[in-house]
């Protein structure tokens, strides 16, 4: 997640075969009663947890707008009371001098193709797994399920050699290819579960009407799978945007192509004492994932709860 960093693909679905949970309960497990002492305790605990989970990020945001002198002299919580003395100087400095502006573009350059390619390729293969017959189909898919948990570490050395031999080490192409390979097991898993759940009759009647599999795929399967594609695309985008390990290994010291995560990880060492700059840099890496997440949360959650992504 990314926020996945190097965590690999998420879990198999909660529901059998990725079908939607039979009956999703709308109400709570207990009837919501009138406020009493027990319920006040409940609210206090939940609000307390929300505050604990939010405060670290708020601290980051506040620190990123403070001057160096302030950030080193007092805690961020003292800055939220007047007189305010906030500045956007930190952002100007990290975007310009530290090169985060370029790194932001690099991150986009890495993430967008590294999202599109596996989604498209997985859709083809998922359609074949769901609606075509061929020998060893089940064995092959079980292998895909097994590959879901392979640690990237197991692949680094041979792939690094391969990229060296091909002369593409340090290039965007190397990272696109690697992300596609690493993202495919989950992409295939999610897409196949979803496509397999589409109504059989639709494809049967299309076939009777003389539509080729390609037509059935582009005209029927793909449009009907938009929710799953959306979940998958968001997932893969966040995964590649937040990735550190793959860029670290395959782009490494090719400074021109370094994405945000790699740049900021290096800044942590070089800017050590300048917490106001570091926090600004970190927020630059977070802004896009936060927008994607808050805007498309529904699809994101559906992707995580596995194939349970019915319309």
């Amino acid at each position: 997640m990314s926020g996945f960093g190097n965590v690999g693909p998420p879990v198999p679905p909660v529901t059998p075969g990725g079908r939607p949970i039979a009956q999703v309960r709308k109400g709570p497990l207990t009837r919501i009663g009138p406020p009493n002492r027990g319920r006040i305790g409940l609210h206090l605990v939940i609000v307390g947890l929300m505050v604990v989970w939010l405060l670290p990020t708020i601290g980051l945001l506040v620190n990123s707008f403070r001057t160096r002198a302030d950030a080193n002299a007092s805690g961020w919580w003292t800055a939220i009371f007047p007189p305010w003395d906030f500045t956007i100087e930190n952002y100007i400095q990290v975007l310009d001098q530290s090169g985060l502006g370029d790194a932001f573009v690099n991150s986009l350059f890495i993430s967008i193709p590294a999202t599109i390619i596996p989604v498209v390729i997985a859709s083809f293969a998922a359609y074949a797994f769901a609606w075509m017959d061929f020998p060893y189909k089940n064995v092959l898919f079980v292998i895909v399920v097994g590959l879901l948990v392979i640690p990237l570490q197991l692949t680094l050395i041979p792939i690094l050699r391969l990229f060296g031999d091909l002369g593409i080490a340090g290039s965007f192409l190397a990272v696109w290819l690697a992300h596609t390979g690493y993202g495919l097991p989950f992409a295939l898993y999610l897409m196949r579960n979803y496509m397999g759940g589409l109504p059989k009759e639709v494809f049967e009647s299309a076939s009777i009407d003389g539509a080729s599999p390609a037509t059935a795929f582009f005209r029927l399967a793909l449009p009907m799978s938009v929710p799953a594609i959306a979940s998958l695309a968001i997932f893969q985008f966040l995964f590649t945007w937040n990735d550190l390990l793959v860029s670290l290994i395959y782009i490494g010291f090719n400074i021109e192509n370094q994405p945000l995560t790699l740049k900021v990880a290096n800044l942590v060492n070089s800017l050590g004492g300048n917490i106001q700059l570091l926090t600004a840099a970190a927020f630059v890496t977070m802004i896009l994932p936060l927008i994607v997440f808050l805007g498309l949360q529904r699809y994101f959650v559906r992707g995580i709860t596995g194939g349970a992504v019915k319309g």
């Binding site: 926020g3 960093g5 190097n6 998420p10 198999p12 059998p16 075969g17 990725g18 949970i21 999703v24 309960r25 109400g27 709570p28 947890l49 929300m50 939010l54 670290p56 990020t57 601290g59 950030a71 080193n72 805690g75 961020w76 193709p113 390619i117 390729i121 359609y127 074949a128 797994f129 061929f134 092959l140 948990v149 640690p151 990237l152 570490q153 197991l154 692949t155 680094l156 041979p158 792939i159 390979g181 690493y182 495919l184 599999p213 390609a214 582009f218 937040n242 550190l244 390990l245 995560t261 990880a265 942590v268 570091l278 926090t279 890496t285 977070m286 997440f293 808050l294 959650v301 995580i304």
Partner: protein, 322 residues
């Protein structure tokens, strides 16, 4: 400008190429007789995906396995020497111990908090807001999370004003400030807490989805029969949620074993915080020890194999129900 042209080519060109591939297949298949077509077609649709899986996962996994029996530059076979190093070198053993600590604490805390929060927020009207807030850290990178927690753990020498909230609280009550991260006795725990902050939301979302599948009538019936809330939880909710908890816990164990980014960003493995994935990176890029790095990767994989088997078993059971 050049970048924009390249971006357009990549974003539009690659999908066009792939779509063209599928359309091309159908043209190509017209050459074959009808019966042959349906036999060849699936393999052509699978070809791009299978190629990537073989080239980027299966072939390198086998390659790494072979490399783990070779010397530092992968020239000559050295038998089990690399494994002997992994199992006897004190820093590698330290990394293994930290991985075990990660595995136990990270899994227990993420699943535990996730379960408790899922159950608690189920009872309030602002459930979705609460869940979003717990869930947000999962959307950001470990690198950003590392910086966020540097501000939380910030340490100044005693006597100076503390800029980190934890040490500010500690000194407020007369305690000494603690250098949480750069201290061998607290380092790994501090890093695990960052991981828990990030991944609890993941567990919560899945467990919450499982919780929504439990019928309220069943619980009401138990309550009418005189069961208190703890009994309802212990004897009805928990057993029904068990399969979901197993799924979540498996994923967390794998996440814990693969931990890399947090350690890389926060300490680079210093202060006794090293884990296997970081050690492997060190062997690879700092020491140029390819054989040892490969052996560490294989050990990591071996630890994950039981989870892999569990996943495959679960998948087969689900398919049988289908």
């Amino acid at each position: 400008m050049n970048d924009l042209v390249m971006a357009a080519v990549v974003v539009l060109g690659i999908p066009a190429l792939l779509v063209g591939y599928i359309l091309g297949i159908e043209q190509l298949l017209k050459v074959f007789p009808e019966r042959r077509r349906s036999r060849v077609r699936p393999w052509l649709w699978l070809l791009p995906a299978l190629t990537f899986l073989v080239v980027f996962l299966i072939y390198p996994a086998i390659g790494t396995f072979v490399d783990s029996f070779k010397d530092r530059s992968s020239d000559a076979f050295v038998g089990l020497a690399n494994y002997e190093y992994v199992l006897t070198n004190s820093s590698v053993i330290g990394a293994i111990k930290n991985n075990i600590l990660w595995l136990i604490l990270f899994t227990a805390l993420t699943v535990g908090f996730g379960l408790v929060i899922a159950i608690l927020v189920d009872r309030v009207r602002y459930e979705s807001t609460a869940k979003s807030i717990i869930f947000i850290p999962l959307a950001i990178s470990f690198v950003a999370a590392g910086v966020i927690w540097q501000t939380v753990y910030a340490y100044q020498p005693p006597g100076q004003p503390q800029t980190g909230p934890l040490n500010a609280i500690a000194t407020l009550f007369g305690g000494d400030p603690i250098n949480f991260v750069r201290n061998p006795s607290t380092g790994t725990y501090s890093l695990i807490i960052i991981g828990v902050w990030m991944w609890t939301g993941f567990c919560m979302v899945i467990l919450s989805a499982g919780l929504k599948g439990i019928s309220v009538e069943l619980l009401e019936a138990a309550r009418v029969d005189g069961a208190n809330e703890w009994h309802v939880f212990r004897h009805i909710i928990l057993p029904l949620l068990m399969p979901t908890i197993a799924v979540v816990a498996t994923t967390m164990v794998i996440t814990a074993l693969k931990a890399f980014d947090i350690v890389y960003v926060m300490t680079a493995g210093l202060y006794d915080t090293e884990v296997l994935a970081n050690r492997m990176y060190q062997e690879l890029f700092s020491f140029n020890q390819f054989g040892r790095a490969a052996a560490i990767a294989v050990v990591l994989m071996l630890a994950i194999v039981p989870m892999m088997i569990a996943n495959v078993k679960r998948f087969r059971e689900q398919e049988a129900v289908r």
